[in-house]
Symmetry: C2
Subunit: 235 residues, 2 copies
Protein backbone atom coordinates (compact mmCIF):
# COMPACT_ATOMS: atom_id res chain seq x y z
CA UNK A 1 0.00 0.00 0.00
CA UNK A 2 1.16 3.55 -0.72
CA UNK A 3 2.03 6.01 2.02
CA UNK A 4 -0.92 8.28 2.69
CA UNK A 5 -1.20 11.19 5.11
CA UNK A 6 -4.21 13.21 4.08
CA UNK A 7 -7.48 12.93 2.23
CA UNK A 8 -9.16 15.90 0.57
CA UNK A 9 -12.74 15.81 -0.58
CA UNK A 10 -14.98 17.22 -3.18
CA UNK A 11 -18.09 18.27 -1.25
CA UNK A 12 -21.11 19.02 -3.49
CA UNK A 13 -22.43 15.59 -4.45
CA UNK A 14 -19.56 13.67 -2.87
CA UNK A 15 -20.12 14.51 0.82
CA UNK A 16 -23.39 16.42 0.80
CA UNK A 17 -26.60 15.90 -1.15
CA UNK A 18 -27.02 19.35 -2.67
CA UNK A 19 -30.05 18.40 -4.75
CA UNK A 20 -32.03 16.69 -2.01
CA UNK A 21 -31.18 19.46 0.46
CA UNK A 22 -32.30 22.26 -1.85
CA UNK A 23 -35.52 20.45 -2.76
CA UNK A 24 -36.33 19.82 0.92
CA UNK A 25 -35.67 23.39 1.95
CA UNK A 26 -37.48 24.73 -1.11
CA UNK A 27 -40.58 22.71 -0.32
CA UNK A 28 -40.58 23.90 3.28
CA UNK A 29 -39.88 27.51 2.40
CA UNK A 30 -42.38 27.42 -0.48
CA UNK A 31 -45.04 26.10 1.87
CA UNK A 32 -44.50 29.06 4.20
CA UNK A 33 -44.35 31.57 1.33
CA UNK A 34 -47.07 29.89 -0.73
CA UNK A 35 -44.66 29.40 -3.61
CA UNK A 36 -45.45 26.19 -5.42
CA UNK A 37 -42.92 25.37 -8.09
CA UNK A 38 -40.96 22.30 -9.20
CA UNK A 39 -38.15 22.49 -6.64
CA UNK A 40 -36.23 19.63 -8.23
CA UNK A 41 -36.14 21.61 -11.46
CA UNK A 42 -35.19 24.73 -9.50
CA UNK A 43 -32.27 22.89 -7.84
CA UNK A 44 -31.12 21.45 -11.17
CA UNK A 45 -31.29 24.83 -12.90
CA UNK A 46 -29.35 26.45 -10.05
CA UNK A 47 -26.67 23.80 -10.23
CA UNK A 48 -26.61 24.12 -14.03
CA UNK A 49 -25.32 27.65 -13.54
CA UNK A 50 -22.37 26.35 -11.52
CA UNK A 51 -19.83 25.33 -14.18
CA UNK A 52 -20.54 28.15 -16.63
CA UNK A 53 -20.22 30.79 -13.90
CA UNK A 54 -16.95 29.32 -12.61
CA UNK A 55 -15.65 29.06 -16.13
CA UNK A 56 -16.08 32.81 -16.48
CA UNK A 57 -13.64 33.15 -13.59
CA UNK A 58 -11.34 30.41 -14.92
CA UNK A 59 -11.08 32.09 -18.33
CA UNK A 60 -10.64 35.58 -16.86
CA UNK A 61 -13.97 36.93 -18.10
CA UNK A 62 -14.78 37.62 -14.44
CA UNK A 63 -12.21 38.54 -11.76
CA UNK A 64 -11.96 36.22 -8.76
CA UNK A 65 -15.49 35.81 -7.39
CA UNK A 66 -16.48 33.64 -4.42
CA UNK A 67 -18.89 30.81 -5.07
CA UNK A 68 -21.48 32.49 -2.81
CA UNK A 69 -21.51 35.40 -5.23
CA UNK A 70 -21.66 33.16 -8.29
CA UNK A 71 -24.59 31.29 -6.71
CA UNK A 72 -26.26 34.63 -6.12
CA UNK A 73 -25.79 35.76 -9.71
CA UNK A 74 -27.44 32.54 -10.90
CA UNK A 75 -30.20 32.87 -8.30
CA UNK A 76 -30.99 36.41 -9.42
CA UNK A 77 -31.74 35.06 -12.89
CA UNK A 78 -33.55 32.02 -11.58
CA UNK A 79 -36.09 33.69 -9.31
CA UNK A 80 -37.90 35.61 -12.09
CA UNK A 81 -37.63 32.54 -14.35
CA UNK A 82 -39.70 30.65 -11.77
CA UNK A 83 -42.03 33.59 -11.22
CA UNK A 84 -40.71 34.37 -7.73
CA UNK A 85 -40.80 38.14 -7.26
CA UNK A 86 -40.59 40.71 -4.52
CA UNK A 87 -38.26 38.96 -2.10
CA UNK A 88 -36.52 41.16 0.47
CA UNK A 89 -32.73 41.33 0.21
CA UNK A 90 -32.35 39.32 3.45
CA UNK A 91 -34.66 36.63 2.14
CA UNK A 92 -32.56 36.31 -1.00
CA UNK A 93 -29.38 36.20 1.09
CA UNK A 94 -30.84 33.55 3.35
CA UNK A 95 -32.02 31.47 0.44
CA UNK A 96 -28.66 31.85 -1.33
CA UNK A 97 -27.02 30.46 1.77
CA UNK A 98 -28.98 27.24 1.43
CA UNK A 99 -25.65 26.02 0.02
CA UNK A 100 -24.20 26.53 3.51
CA UNK A 101 -26.88 24.21 4.90
CA UNK A 102 -26.56 21.20 2.63
CA UNK A 103 -27.00 17.87 4.36
CA UNK A 104 -24.53 15.01 4.22
CA UNK A 105 -25.23 11.65 2.65
CA UNK A 106 -26.11 9.15 5.40
CA UNK A 107 -22.61 7.59 5.47
CA UNK A 108 -20.56 10.81 5.22
CA UNK A 109 -20.14 11.79 8.87
CA UNK A 110 -19.40 8.26 10.07
CA UNK A 111 -16.90 7.68 7.26
CA UNK A 112 -15.14 11.00 7.81
CA UNK A 113 -14.90 10.40 11.56
CA UNK A 114 -13.17 7.05 10.94
CA UNK A 115 -10.83 8.53 8.33
CA UNK A 116 -9.99 11.42 10.66
CA UNK A 117 -8.69 9.01 13.28
CA UNK A 118 -5.90 7.95 10.90
CA UNK A 119 -5.48 10.78 8.37
CA UNK A 120 -5.81 14.53 8.06
CA UNK A 121 -9.10 15.27 6.31
CA UNK A 122 -10.21 18.47 4.61
CA UNK A 123 -12.59 19.56 1.90
CA UNK A 124 -10.94 20.65 -1.35
CA UNK A 125 -13.97 22.27 -2.84
CA UNK A 126 -14.99 25.10 -5.08
CA UNK A 127 -17.15 26.31 -2.22
CA UNK A 128 -15.79 29.38 -0.46
CA UNK A 129 -14.35 29.09 3.04
CA UNK A 130 -17.41 30.57 4.79
CA UNK A 131 -19.70 28.20 2.90
CA UNK A 132 -17.60 25.15 3.79
CA UNK A 133 -17.13 26.21 7.41
CA UNK A 134 -20.83 26.87 7.92
CA UNK A 135 -21.70 23.58 6.20
CA UNK A 136 -19.34 21.68 8.50
CA UNK A 137 -20.90 23.24 11.60
CA UNK A 138 -24.41 22.74 10.31
CA UNK A 139 -23.94 19.12 9.32
CA UNK A 140 -21.26 17.99 11.77
CA UNK A 141 -18.56 17.31 9.19
CA UNK A 142 -15.43 16.76 11.31
CA UNK A 143 -12.82 18.38 9.04
CA UNK A 144 -9.30 19.01 10.35
CA UNK A 145 -8.91 22.07 8.12
CA UNK A 146 -10.92 23.88 5.44
CA UNK A 147 -9.17 23.98 2.08
CA UNK A 148 -10.53 25.05 -1.25
CA UNK A 149 -10.57 27.15 -4.36
CA UNK A 150 -10.82 30.46 -2.50
CA UNK A 151 -7.40 30.03 -0.87
CA UNK A 152 -5.68 30.10 -4.26
CA UNK A 153 -8.33 32.06 -6.18
CA UNK A 154 -8.65 29.37 -8.79
CA UNK A 155 -11.53 26.99 -9.41
CA UNK A 156 -11.16 23.26 -9.96
CA UNK A 157 -10.17 21.75 -12.28
CA UNK A 158 -7.35 24.34 -12.34
CA UNK A 159 -4.12 22.69 -11.20
CA UNK A 160 -3.48 25.38 -8.57
CA UNK A 161 -6.29 24.02 -6.41
CA UNK A 162 -5.03 20.41 -6.35
CA UNK A 163 -1.41 21.45 -5.80
CA UNK A 164 -2.44 23.71 -2.91
CA UNK A 165 -3.52 20.74 -0.76
CA UNK A 166 -0.07 19.11 -0.30
CA UNK A 167 1.48 22.57 -0.03
CA UNK A 168 -0.83 23.73 2.77
CA UNK A 169 -0.66 20.39 4.55
CA UNK A 170 3.11 20.13 4.30
CA UNK A 171 3.17 16.72 2.64
CA UNK A 172 3.98 15.31 -0.80
CA UNK A 173 1.33 15.27 -3.53
CA UNK A 174 1.54 11.46 -3.55
CA UNK A 175 0.65 11.44 0.17
CA UNK A 176 -2.67 13.19 -0.50
CA UNK A 177 -5.74 11.44 -1.85
CA UNK A 178 -8.49 13.33 -3.65
CA UNK A 179 -11.92 11.81 -3.03
CA UNK A 180 -14.75 12.66 -5.40
CA UNK A 181 -17.83 11.32 -7.10
CA UNK A 182 -16.84 13.00 -10.36
CA UNK A 183 -14.42 11.63 -12.93
CA UNK A 184 -13.19 15.01 -14.19
CA UNK A 185 -12.21 16.13 -10.70
CA UNK A 186 -10.27 12.93 -10.07
CA UNK A 187 -8.52 12.93 -13.43
CA UNK A 188 -7.33 16.48 -12.85
CA UNK A 189 -6.09 15.53 -9.36
CA UNK A 190 -4.33 12.49 -10.81
CA UNK A 191 -2.49 14.66 -13.32
CA UNK A 192 -1.19 16.71 -10.37
CA UNK A 193 0.24 13.60 -8.73
CA UNK A 194 -2.41 13.11 -6.05
CA UNK A 195 -3.82 9.72 -5.15
CA UNK A 196 -7.46 9.31 -6.08
CA UNK A 197 -10.55 7.61 -4.71
CA UNK A 198 -13.83 7.45 -6.53
CA UNK A 199 -16.92 7.53 -4.34
CA UNK A 200 -20.02 6.34 -6.13
CA UNK A 201 -23.04 8.59 -5.56
CA UNK A 202 -25.77 7.17 -7.79
CA UNK A 203 -28.46 9.56 -6.56
CA UNK A 204 -26.63 12.86 -6.85
CA UNK A 205 -28.76 14.05 -9.76
CA UNK A 206 -31.93 12.36 -8.60
CA UNK A 207 -33.45 8.92 -9.05
CA UNK A 208 -32.89 7.55 -12.54
CA UNK A 209 -30.51 10.34 -13.60
CA UNK A 210 -27.06 9.40 -14.78
CA UNK A 211 -24.20 9.68 -12.25
CA UNK A 212 -20.50 9.15 -12.96
CA UNK A 213 -19.22 5.61 -12.65
CA UNK A 214 -15.62 4.46 -12.57
CA UNK A 215 -14.08 1.13 -13.42
CA UNK A 216 -11.31 -0.82 -11.70
CA UNK A 217 -7.89 0.58 -12.53
CA UNK A 218 -9.05 4.12 -13.25
CA UNK A 219 -8.22 5.32 -9.72
CA UNK A 220 -6.40 4.03 -6.65
CA UNK A 221 -9.64 3.16 -4.89
CA UNK A 222 -13.27 2.70 -5.88
CA UNK A 223 -15.61 2.99 -2.92
CA UNK A 224 -19.35 2.65 -2.59
CA UNK A 225 -19.55 5.22 0.21
CA UNK A 226 -17.42 7.03 2.81
CA UNK A 227 -17.55 4.19 5.34
CA UNK A 228 -16.43 1.75 2.66
CA UNK A 229 -13.56 4.12 1.84
CA UNK A 230 -12.51 4.18 5.52
CA UNK A 231 -12.63 0.39 5.64
CA UNK A 232 -10.50 0.05 2.50
CA UNK A 233 -7.94 2.48 3.96
CA UNK A 234 -7.79 0.63 7.26
CA UNK A 235 -9.31 3.47 9.25
CA UNK B 1 -23.88 43.20 24.00
CA UNK B 2 -22.41 43.44 20.50
CA UNK B 3 -23.29 41.02 17.73
CA UNK B 4 -20.60 38.37 17.49
CA UNK B 5 -20.32 35.48 15.04
CA UNK B 6 -16.74 34.25 15.18
CA UNK B 7 -13.71 34.18 17.42
CA UNK B 8 -10.19 33.90 16.09
CA UNK B 9 -7.26 33.04 18.29
CA UNK B 10 -3.61 33.65 18.62
CA UNK B 11 -2.16 30.22 19.36
CA UNK B 12 1.45 30.32 20.66
CA UNK B 13 1.12 31.33 24.29
CA UNK B 14 -2.62 32.00 24.11
CA UNK B 15 -3.92 28.48 23.42
CA UNK B 16 -0.82 26.32 23.71
CA UNK B 17 2.10 26.44 26.13
CA UNK B 18 4.99 26.55 23.67
CA UNK B 19 7.65 26.96 26.34
CA UNK B 20 6.53 24.16 28.65
CA UNK B 21 5.97 21.83 25.67
CA UNK B 22 9.43 22.41 24.20
CA UNK B 23 11.10 22.00 27.58
CA UNK B 24 9.24 18.74 28.25
CA UNK B 25 10.03 17.30 24.84
CA UNK B 26 13.62 18.53 25.05
CA UNK B 27 14.16 16.82 28.38
CA UNK B 28 12.73 13.57 27.10
CA UNK B 29 14.62 13.69 23.82
CA UNK B 30 17.83 14.81 25.58
CA UNK B 31 17.54 11.87 27.95
CA UNK B 32 17.38 9.45 25.02
CA UNK B 33 20.18 11.21 23.11
CA UNK B 34 22.29 11.96 26.21
CA UNK B 35 22.08 15.68 25.49
CA UNK B 36 21.98 17.61 28.74
CA UNK B 37 21.44 21.31 28.21
CA UNK B 38 19.24 24.01 29.72
CA UNK B 39 16.08 23.30 27.75
CA UNK B 40 14.28 26.33 29.14
CA UNK B 41 17.03 28.51 27.74
CA UNK B 42 16.90 26.56 24.48
CA UNK B 43 13.13 27.16 24.20
CA UNK B 44 13.54 30.86 25.01
CA UNK B 45 16.34 31.30 22.49
CA UNK B 46 14.31 29.53 19.80
CA UNK B 47 11.31 31.74 20.49
CA UNK B 48 13.59 34.79 20.52
CA UNK B 49 14.27 34.12 16.84
CA UNK B 50 10.56 34.32 16.08
CA UNK B 51 9.88 38.05 15.69
CA UNK B 52 13.18 38.94 13.99
CA UNK B 53 12.76 36.17 11.41
CA UNK B 54 9.17 37.17 10.67
CA UNK B 55 10.18 40.79 10.44
CA UNK B 56 12.56 39.86 7.65
CA UNK B 57 9.50 38.65 5.73
CA UNK B 58 7.39 41.63 6.80
CA UNK B 59 9.99 44.11 5.55
CA UNK B 60 10.67 42.21 2.33
CA UNK B 61 14.22 41.16 3.22
CA UNK B 62 12.99 37.57 2.80
CA UNK B 63 10.30 36.45 0.35
CA UNK B 64 7.26 34.74 1.85
CA UNK B 65 8.55 31.93 4.06
CA UNK B 66 6.40 29.57 6.12
CA UNK B 67 6.89 29.61 9.88
CA UNK B 68 8.15 26.00 9.78
CA UNK B 69 11.03 27.20 7.62
CA UNK B 70 11.71 30.24 9.81
CA UNK B 71 11.77 27.94 12.86
CA UNK B 72 14.21 25.71 11.02
CA UNK B 73 16.52 28.60 10.14
CA UNK B 74 16.64 29.59 13.82
CA UNK B 75 17.12 25.97 14.88
CA UNK B 76 20.06 25.55 12.51
CA UNK B 77 21.83 28.36 14.37
CA UNK B 78 20.72 27.17 17.77
CA UNK B 79 21.93 23.57 17.64
CA UNK B 80 25.66 24.41 17.34
CA UNK B 81 25.20 27.22 19.88
CA UNK B 82 24.11 24.55 22.38
CA UNK B 83 26.81 22.15 21.24
CA UNK B 84 24.38 19.75 19.56
CA UNK B 85 26.10 18.33 16.49
CA UNK B 86 25.70 15.51 14.00
CA UNK B 87 21.92 15.18 13.92
CA UNK B 88 20.47 13.37 10.91
CA UNK B 89 18.23 15.47 8.65
CA UNK B 90 15.15 13.52 9.79
CA UNK B 91 16.01 14.16 13.42
CA UNK B 92 16.25 17.88 12.76
CA UNK B 93 12.96 17.80 10.87
CA UNK B 94 11.28 15.91 13.67
CA UNK B 95 12.64 18.26 16.30
CA UNK B 96 11.65 21.31 14.25
CA UNK B 97 8.12 19.97 14.18
CA UNK B 98 7.93 20.10 17.98
CA UNK B 99 5.97 23.29 17.20
CA UNK B 100 3.31 21.03 15.65
CA UNK B 101 3.09 19.13 18.95
CA UNK B 102 2.62 21.96 21.42
CA UNK B 103 0.23 21.19 24.24
CA UNK B 104 -2.74 23.31 25.20
CA UNK B 105 -3.11 25.14 28.49
CA UNK B 106 -5.36 23.10 30.81
CA UNK B 107 -8.46 25.24 30.08
CA UNK B 108 -8.01 25.63 26.31
CA UNK B 109 -9.85 22.59 24.95
CA UNK B 110 -12.81 22.93 27.32
CA UNK B 111 -13.12 26.65 26.63
CA UNK B 112 -12.90 26.22 22.86
CA UNK B 113 -15.48 23.43 22.90
CA UNK B 114 -17.95 25.71 24.70
CA UNK B 115 -17.23 28.64 22.40
CA UNK B 116 -17.64 26.40 19.35
CA UNK B 117 -21.19 25.54 20.36
CA UNK B 118 -22.19 29.19 19.87
CA UNK B 119 -19.60 30.73 17.52
CA UNK B 120 -17.31 29.83 14.66
CA UNK B 121 -13.80 29.41 16.07
CA UNK B 122 -10.49 29.38 14.23
CA UNK B 123 -6.85 30.09 14.92
CA UNK B 124 -5.53 33.30 13.37
CA UNK B 125 -1.90 32.56 13.89
CA UNK B 126 1.48 33.13 12.34
CA UNK B 127 1.87 29.36 12.32
CA UNK B 128 1.54 27.79 8.89
CA UNK B 129 -1.52 25.74 8.01
CA UNK B 130 0.24 22.37 8.38
CA UNK B 131 1.59 23.37 11.79
CA UNK B 132 -1.84 24.52 13.02
CA UNK B 133 -3.65 21.51 11.55
CA UNK B 134 -1.19 19.05 13.08
CA UNK B 135 -1.34 20.86 16.42
CA UNK B 136 -5.14 20.69 16.44
CA UNK B 137 -5.09 16.95 15.76
CA UNK B 138 -2.34 16.35 18.28
CA UNK B 139 -3.94 18.37 21.06
CA UNK B 140 -7.63 18.01 20.27
CA UNK B 141 -8.26 21.68 19.50
CA UNK B 142 -11.77 21.68 17.99
CA UNK B 143 -11.36 24.45 15.39
CA UNK B 144 -14.06 24.99 12.76
CA UNK B 145 -11.48 26.21 10.23
CA UNK B 146 -7.76 26.90 10.12
CA UNK B 147 -6.93 30.52 9.33
CA UNK B 148 -3.62 32.28 9.54
CA UNK B 149 -0.75 34.24 8.09
CA UNK B 150 0.03 31.72 5.37
CA UNK B 151 -3.32 32.23 3.65
CA UNK B 152 -2.50 35.86 2.90
CA UNK B 153 1.31 35.57 2.97
CA UNK B 154 1.63 38.26 5.58
CA UNK B 155 2.63 37.94 9.21
CA UNK B 156 0.82 39.56 12.11
CA UNK B 157 0.72 42.36 12.99
CA UNK B 158 0.24 43.16 9.28
CA UNK B 159 -3.34 44.30 8.69
CA UNK B 160 -3.86 41.77 5.90
CA UNK B 161 -3.96 38.93 8.43
CA UNK B 162 -6.65 40.47 10.66
CA UNK B 163 -8.77 41.58 7.71
CA UNK B 164 -8.60 38.09 6.19
CA UNK B 165 -10.63 36.59 9.04
CA UNK B 166 -13.94 38.39 8.38
CA UNK B 167 -13.35 38.05 4.64
CA UNK B 168 -12.85 34.27 4.75
CA UNK B 169 -15.67 33.77 7.26
CA UNK B 170 -18.11 35.95 5.34
CA UNK B 171 -18.94 38.25 8.25
CA UNK B 172 -18.23 41.86 9.25
CA UNK B 173 -14.99 42.76 11.02
CA UNK B 174 -17.03 43.89 14.02
CA UNK B 175 -18.59 40.41 14.22
CA UNK B 176 -15.17 38.78 14.72
CA UNK B 177 -13.30 38.80 18.03
CA UNK B 178 -9.54 38.38 18.18
CA UNK B 179 -8.44 36.54 21.30
CA UNK B 180 -4.82 36.80 22.43
CA UNK B 181 -2.53 36.98 25.44
CA UNK B 182 -0.47 39.71 23.76
CA UNK B 183 -1.30 43.41 23.75
CA UNK B 184 0.35 44.17 20.39
CA UNK B 185 -1.71 41.51 18.61
CA UNK B 186 -4.95 42.83 20.08
CA UNK B 187 -4.18 46.47 19.38
CA UNK B 188 -3.47 45.65 15.74
CA UNK B 189 -6.73 43.68 15.53
CA UNK B 190 -8.60 46.56 17.14
CA UNK B 191 -7.26 48.98 14.53
CA UNK B 192 -8.72 46.71 11.86
CA UNK B 193 -12.18 46.90 13.45
CA UNK B 194 -12.23 43.49 15.11
CA UNK B 195 -13.55 42.93 18.62
CA UNK B 196 -10.86 41.95 21.10
CA UNK B 197 -10.51 39.71 24.13
CA UNK B 198 -7.41 39.59 26.27
CA UNK B 199 -6.61 36.19 27.76
CA UNK B 200 -4.19 36.39 30.66
CA UNK B 201 -1.41 33.79 30.48
CA UNK B 202 0.90 34.61 33.38
CA UNK B 203 3.16 31.58 32.83
CA UNK B 204 3.81 31.89 29.11
CA UNK B 205 7.44 32.88 29.61
CA UNK B 206 7.98 30.76 32.69
CA UNK B 207 7.48 31.26 36.41
CA UNK B 208 8.37 34.77 37.50
CA UNK B 209 8.88 36.10 33.97
CA UNK B 210 6.81 39.06 32.88
CA UNK B 211 3.68 38.39 30.83
CA UNK B 212 1.42 40.97 29.21
CA UNK B 213 -1.38 42.32 31.37
CA UNK B 214 -4.35 44.40 30.27
CA UNK B 215 -6.55 46.77 32.19
CA UNK B 216 -10.31 47.28 32.09
CA UNK B 217 -11.35 49.32 29.06
CA UNK B 218 -8.40 48.37 26.88
CA UNK B 219 -10.32 45.61 25.13
CA UNK B 220 -13.91 44.36 24.88
CA UNK B 221 -13.23 41.49 27.26
CA UNK B 222 -10.55 40.59 29.79
CA UNK B 223 -10.56 36.89 30.62
CA UNK B 224 -8.51 34.80 32.99
CA UNK B 225 -8.66 31.73 30.74
CA UNK B 226 -10.60 30.20 27.85
CA UNK B 227 -13.40 28.81 30.03
CA UNK B 228 -13.84 32.22 31.63
CA UNK B 229 -14.04 33.72 28.12
CA UNK B 230 -16.76 31.23 27.17
CA UNK B 231 -18.68 32.08 30.32
CA UNK B 232 -18.45 35.82 29.67
CA UNK B 233 -19.69 35.29 26.10
CA UNK B 234 -22.62 33.16 27.25
CA UNK B 235 -21.32 30.00 25.61
Amino acid sequence: MFSLKALVFDTFGTIVDWRGSIIAEGLQWGEAKKIHIDWAKFADRWRAGYSPSMNKVRTGELPWTKLDDLHRMTLDHLLPEFGIEGLAAEEKDHWNRVWHRLKPWPDSVAGLARLKSKYTIAPLSNGNIALLTDMAKYSGLPWDAILGAELVRHYKPDREVYLSAPDFLGVKASEVMMVAAHLGDLKAAQECGLRTAFLYRPNEYGPGARADQAKAGDFDILATNAVDLARQLGA
